[in-house]
Amino acid sequence: MEGYLRALFKNRISILSLIIILFVIGLAVFGPYFEKHDPLETHMAKMLRPPTGEFPFGTDALGRCVASRIIYGARTTLLAGLVAIVIGAVLGTFLGLVSGFYVGKVDNLIMRGLDVLLAFPYFLLAVVIVAALGPSLNSIMIAIGIWEMPYYARLVRGSVLSIKEKEYVEAARMVGEKDSSILMYYILPNCISPIIIMSTVYYAWAILMASTLSFLGLGVQPPAPEWGVMTAEGREYLLFAPYLLFFPALFVCLTASAFNFLGDALRDLLDPRLHMR
């Protein structure tokens, strides 16, 4: 892992991505302590103000401060993405471990089951789950987690298939270790680094998916500040106040790009075939 980190710091784009990520995380964690406007407070006298000194990102149709909504929105979005990938990673890793370790019927059953989930085109699975659970922040976190689960399962299964042939696993088996402890102490720790690396990319997916679902009115409900919700609200004033669309859109794209660029750089490091010469 240290070798990866050192190589990572040689790449200018990865450093820029890291800076953006740290900035957005800092905004989400500390931003609310510095922002004097309440994201929900309406100022009817100050509707649709373009970006100026008091309101650096302007105000929306209800006179709410866009900057403070962006800051509080960062909390919602980052947290929603985090919970979603944790759900996906935990369920997916478990299924991947079991299916990679017990080749045969169990493996077949799990993989066929996951194939059904992958048979839904792109984000339709998340839409179905959200429709069943009702639109809310919790629903989209569960929906995105389940949507990402098969990708984690496939990744982990692939690693397990190669790791379980290693001599130390053979040795553990000879000593009489139980299957569960072989999986926990010998195989899982060796799957962790691909899981973490792919999680940066899946995190970007989760953020995009969360904002898309909220934009469509299936996720976080207004008036709560969330980037997708803000984009949907800004849409109605696109002609007169394009900054209402610009700022939330910028933050969604910037954050997702940063995670994607970082994940890409990490993946290249993992797969040296792609970055040779």
Binding site: I13, R112, G113, D115, V116, A119, F120, P121, Y122, F123, L124, V127, V128, I129, V130, A131, A132, L133, G134, A204, L208, S211, T212, F215, L216, G217, L218, G228, T231, R235, L238, L239, P242, L245, A249, V252, C253, A256, S257, F259, N260, F261, D264, R273, L274, R277
Partner: protein
């Protein structure tokens, strides 16, 4: 494949039966009398047990009957059939744009790996992968419909209504195709037979297009096939933003109106169609590459 579609139908049926909605309130409206509520519950078979409703659903499905919409009281199959041509047109137009743009960019990038043009086009495509399609669509509407006034913002009456949604969806998918095409071209360009082709003095154009591209074609086709899911999923959002009356928009409006039968039917058609496309692609590979055998 049949098993996958069957499980999929079952999964969608039972997942959506959890929908937090009281069908009677939608069907009868507020202030309905006791009798009319009873009549409606009977008409839609809402008092039966879940598994009875499920088997009735399957039985009707085989006959092409998906029930009636709770909102419009029209047969669901009629609503779906009138939406499908729009989705097919949009998907087709977007796929052409995505394939052409993605493959050309990918090949140029691979050929000139690490050059300025490679870095720029891969940078743009990575930003493209990180831009949610609704934002792309809104930027397009702002620039080309509001500012320049070249195209209408929404609707489906004329050919010019198709341009913005299809370009938008096409660009979204092109970004992923370009990145994957570049990777598989890079793989091929490093093979020994490419060195052989160069060594015997062939021109670069011949090497790239005749020897490299043809061999990269199989992975590239796989990539394009895989992006169908992204394309179909993306079309749901594109259709909603541009008010394009396709299947995706039907699904989203049915969620907003809590119209479970239409949602059920729409999702099943969408996912079933996607599974079918995947099967056709699998068969297609066998023709272009005899090394691939289907089990």
């Amino acid at each position: 494949m049949a098993v996958t579609i069957f499980i999929l139908i079952t999964l969608v049926f039972f997942t959506l039966s959890f929908m937090p909605v009281d069908p009677v309130s939608i069907l009868c409206g507020p202030g309905a009398t006791e009798e009319s509520i009873k009549a409606v519950r009977k008409e839609f078979g809402l008092d039966d047990l879940a598994y009875i409703q499920y088997f009735r659903f399957l039985k009707n499905l085989i006959r092409g009957d998906l029930g009636f919409s709770w909102r419009s009281r029209q047969p669901v199959i009629v609503e779906i059939m009138s939406a499908i041509p729009y989705t097919v047109i949009l998907a087709f137009a977007a796929m052409i744009i995505a394939t052409l743009l993605g493959i050309i960019t990918g090949i140029i990038s691979a050929k000139k790996q690490f050059s300025l043009i490679d870095n720029i086009s891969m940078g743009i495509s990575l930003i493209g992968v990180s831009t949610p399609i609704f934002i792309l669509a809104l930027i397009f509407i702002y620039i080309f419909a509001y500012r320049l006034g070249w195209f209408p913002t929404s609707g489906s009456e004329t050919l010019s209504h198709l341009i913005l949604p299809s370009v938008c969806l096409g660009l979204f998918v092109a970004a992923s195709i370009a990145r994957l095409v570049r990777a598989s071209m890079l793989d091929v360009l490093r093979q020994d037979y490419i060195r052989t082709a160069r060594a015997k003095g062939l021109s670069e154009v011949m090497v790239v297009f005749k020897h490299a591209f043809r061999n990269a074609l199989i992975p590239i086709l796989t990539i394009v096939g895989m992006q169908f899911g992204l394309l179909l999923g993306g079309s749901v959002i594109t259709e909603t933003v541009f008010a394009w009356p396709g299947l995706g928009r039907l699904i989203i409006t049915s969620i907003n109106f809590k119209d479970a039968p239409v949602l059920q039917g729409g999702v099943m058609f969408f996912a079933g169609g996607f599974t079918l496309i995947n099967l056709i692609m699998d068969i297609f590979y066998q023709f272009i590459d005899p090394r691939i055998k289907i089990k």
